[in-house]
C-alpha cells in the first residue's frame, strides 16, 4: 500500500497532457495470484490515468494498459520492484495514430487535386476516374477534350477522351479499356495512358509523329455500371447491368454483343451466362454508343480493345476459322508489338487470331470493327497468366501500363505509316 501511495505522488508531480505522444501500451500476463492482485490494484490509482484496453480477468489472461508518458517511469519502476513482468506492445501511441491517420486519408479516397498528384499505382473508384478526366482536360485544354458518346443502362455517362493537335476529322486511333468490369488493371492502365499521352506528346518522337497526323480516342471506363458493381457488390462482375426479360439474371457480355457472327457459336443464349450475347446485336447502350461513334466518325484506322488476363495480343476473327485477308500483316505487326512489350520487363505474350489463340467467340468487338474496314483491329489480354488473375496487385499497374504502351505505340506508328 505504501508503494502505491509513493507511486501516485510521483505521478501527481508530473502532470500529463492531452495528446498521446510518448504514451505506451504495456502487456502484463499475471501468472500468480500475487501478480494478479498487484495489477488489479493499479486500476484504483486514478492519478496514473491508466487506460485499460484489456482489464484484468484472471491468471494467464493478458492485461493491456495504455500508460500516459508521465506515468511510465513510475509505473515501470513499481512493476519491476514487485516482480511483475511486462512487455511493451506499443512504443508510442501517437506515432501509431499518425500512421493510421495517413492511411485513412489515403484510403478515404480524397479527390486528387492535379493529375500530377494522382496515384497511378493504385486502383480508383469511378468518381475518382471521372475527376481525373476533368483535371486532365483542364490542365491541357489544347490537347485533350472530353466527349460523351452515350449513357449506360443505369444512366451513367460514357466518356471518351480525345487527344488532338488540330485538324478536322483526322484519321484516328481508338483505345478502350474496362469493357469487362472485373478486369481492373485495364481501366487503371487507361488512366495511365491518358497521362502518358499528355506527358509525351511533344518530346516522344513516335507519339508526336502519330499526333501530327492522327487523333487518339480513349474510353477508359467502357462499362461504368459493371465497374461500379465490382466496387460495391461483386468484384467478379464481368457483364453490363441490363435487365433481361424473362430471366432473373442481369447483364450481357459486351464482347459478344457486336454485329459480327452475332449469336453464333462462341457466345451463350442463356441470360445467366457470363458470355450471354444479349437479345440482339447492339442491345447494350455501351456497345451501341461505340458503334454509332465509329460509324459517324468514319475515319478510324486502328481500334484496340483492352482486356485482362492471359498476356495475349489478338487480331480477328473470333467467330470463324476463316483467316482475315490481312492476316499476314496483322501477324507481323503483332510480332513487333509483342517484342516491344517484352523488351521492358521480359513479360511473355503470345499472339495470333482470337479463334486460334484463345477460343471461339462470336459477336466480338474487333471482328465487327475489322469488318467495318478498320484493318488494324487488335485486342490485348494484359497481365497476368493466372497467379492473381483479375486481382492483380496494384504495384503491377504501372509496369503493365508501361509495357503495354510500347506495344500500342508500335500499332499506332504502323497505322500512321500506312495511312
Amino acid at each position: 500500500m505504501r508503494g502505491l501511495v509513493l507511486l501516485a505522488a510521483l505521478v501527481a508531480a508530473a502532470a500529463g497532457t492531452e495528446t498521446f505522444v510518448g504514451h505506451q501500451v504495456l502487456r502484463i500476463i499475471p501468472t500468480s495470484d500475487e501478480e494478479l492482485q498487484k495489477v488489479q490494484e493499479l486500476q484504483d490509482l486514478e492519478e496514473l490515468q491508466l487506460d485499460f484496453w484489456l482489464a484484468p480477468r484472471g491468471l494467464g489472461h493478458p492485461v493491456d494498459v495504455r500508460v500516459p508518458f508521465p506515468s511510465l517511469q513510475p509505473l515501470k519502476a513499481h512493476l519491476e520492484a514487485n516482480g511483475v513482468t511486462y512487455s511493451i506492445m506499443i512504443e508510442d501511441v501517437q506515432e501509431l495514430l499518425d500512421q493510421e491517420q495517413m492511411e485513412m486519408l489515403r484510403g478515404r479516397r480524397q479527390m486528387p487535386v492535379t493529375t500530377n498528384t494522382f496515384n497511378y499505382a493504385s486502383y480508383h473508384t469511378l468518381d475518382e476516374i471521372y475527376t481525373f478526366m476533368d483535371l486532365l482536360v483542364a490542365e491541357n485544354p489544347n490537347l485533350v477534350s472530353k466527349l460523351e458518346i452515350g449513357r449506360s443502362t443505369e444512366n451513367r455517362p460514357l466518356y471518351v477522351l480525345k487527344f488532338s493537335k488540330g485538324g478536322t476529322n483526322r484519321p484516328a486511333v481508338w483505345i478502350d479499356t474496362g469493357i469487362h468490369s472485373r478486369e481492373w488493371v485495364t481501366q487503371a492502365s487507361g488512366v495511365w495512358f491518358a497521362k502518358q499521352i499528355v506527358l509525351d506528346h511533344e518530346n516522344d518522337e513516335g507519339l508526336a509523329s502519330v499526333l501530327d497526323k492522327m487523333d487518339i480516342f480513349l474510353e477508359i471506363v467502357t462499362n461504368p455500371d459493371g465497374f461500379a458493381f465490382t466496387q460495391t457488390q461483386n468484384r467478379m462482375w464481368r457483364k453490363t447491368r441490363s435487365k433481361q426479360s424473362g430471366s432473373a439474371c442481369i447483364g450481357v457480355d459486351p464482347n459478344r454483343n457486336w454485329d459480327a457472327g452475332f449469336g453464333g457459336s462462341g457466345a451463350s443464349g442463356n441470360p445467366c451466362s457470363e458470355t450471354y450475347h444479349g437479345p440482339y446485336a447492339n442491345s447494350e447502350p455501351e456497345v451501341k454508343a461505340i458503334v454509332d461513334f465509329v460509324k459517324n466518325h468514319g475515319n478510324i484506322k486502328a481500334f484496340v480493345s483492352i482486356h485482362s488476363y492471359s498476356q495475349l495480343l489478338l487480331y480477328p476473327y473470333g467467330y470463324t476459322r476463316t483467316p482475315v485477308p490481312d492476316q499476314k500483316e496483322l501477324h507481323e505487326v503483332s510480332a513487333k508489338a509483342v517484342a516491344a512489350l517484352s523488351s521492358l520487363y521480359g513479360t511473355n505474350y503470345k499472339y495470333g487470331s482470337i479463334i486460334t489463340t484463345i477460343y471461339q467467340a462470336s459477336g466480338g468487338t474487333i471482328d465487327w470493327t475489322y469488318n467495318q474496314g478498320i484493318k488494324y483491329s487488335f485486342t490485348f489480354e494484359l497481365r497476368d497468366t493466372g497467379r492473381y488473375g483479375f486481382l492483380l496487385p496494384a504495384k503491377q499497374i504501372v509496369p503493365t501500363a508501361q509495357e503495354t504502351w510500347l506495344a500500342l505505340k508500335v500499332i499506332m506508328l504502323h497505322a500512321r505509316d500506312h495511312l
Binding site: R235, M236, A248, C272, S273, Y359, G386, L391, L392, A394
Partner: protein, 175 residues
C-alpha cells in the same frame, strides 16, 4: 487420337518455381482425356527431370505457427479485391493453390481451363492428430465460359505427408 479411348497429349514442360523465377525443372507428361464420359478425370503420367526444391524449413515454420495459434485460423478474401495477400496468409494462399490444382484436375476436360480466382473464406478445423485441416470456399475461374464457380474443399496438410483434398463440392453460383 486413340480410337475408342480418347485423346492423348504428349507434353514437354518447364516448371517454374512461383517463389523463385530462376528455379526451373523440366518435365515431360502424358495426358489422356477419356472419350465420352465427362465425369472421369484425365489420366496424367509425368516425369520430372531433376529435383524440386526442398521446402522443409518453410513448411515447419508454417506448421508450427498454425499449431501454436490460440484460436483456429479464419480468414476471408485472399487475395483481397486489390490483389493484396498479407505475408501471414501467403502460405494459406499457396496451400489453396495446390489443393485447387487437384480439384481442377478432377474436373478438367479438353474444353476447360481453370484458374484459382480467389479464396472467399478459409476456416481451420481443429484436429486431434498432427494434421492441419482447412475448410476452404474458393472461386474458380473457367476461361472458356468465363464463369466464376464457387467451390468448397476440405484440405489436409502435414509437412511430411503433403496435401490431400478429402472432400470437395461445387457450390451454387452467387446471384
Amino acid at each position: 487420337d486413340i480410337d475408342g479411348v480418347g485423346h492423348k497429349y504428349h507434353l514437354e514442360l518447364e516448371l517454374e518455381d512461383v517463389l523463385d523465377k530462376d528455379s526451373t525443372v523440366n518435365c515431360t507428361a502424358e495426358v489422356l482425356y477419356h472419350l465420352g464420359n465427362k465425369n472421369i478425370a484425365p489420366d496424367v503420367q509425368f516425369t520430372l527431370e531433376g529435383e524440386l526444391k526442398n521446402t522443409d524449413e518453410a513448411d515447419n515454420v508454417f506448421y508450427n505457427r498454425i499449431k501454436s495459434l490460440e484460436k483456429e485460423l479464419v480468414a476471408e478474401n485472399i487475395p483481397d479485391n486489390y490483389g493484396n495477400v498479407s505475408p501471414e496468409m501467403e502460405p494459406i494462399h499457396l496451400l489453396a493453390w495446390v489443393a485447387s490444382g487437384y480439384v481442377i484436375w478432377q474436373n478438367s476436360t479438353e474444353n476447360t481451363k481453370f484458374q484459382l480466382a480467389q479464396i472467399k473464406h478459409v476456416k481451420q478445423v481443429k484436429r486431434s492428430d498432427e494434421y492441419l485441416e482447412f475448410d476452404y470456399k474458393i472461386l474458380l475461374h473457367e476461361m472458356l465460359t468465363q464463369e466464376i464457380i464457387p467451390w468448397q474443399m476440405t484440405v489436409l496438410w502435414h509437412p511430411q505427408h503433403g496435401v490431400e483434398v478429402t472432400r470437395d463440392s461445387r457450390q451454387p453460383k452467387q446471384a
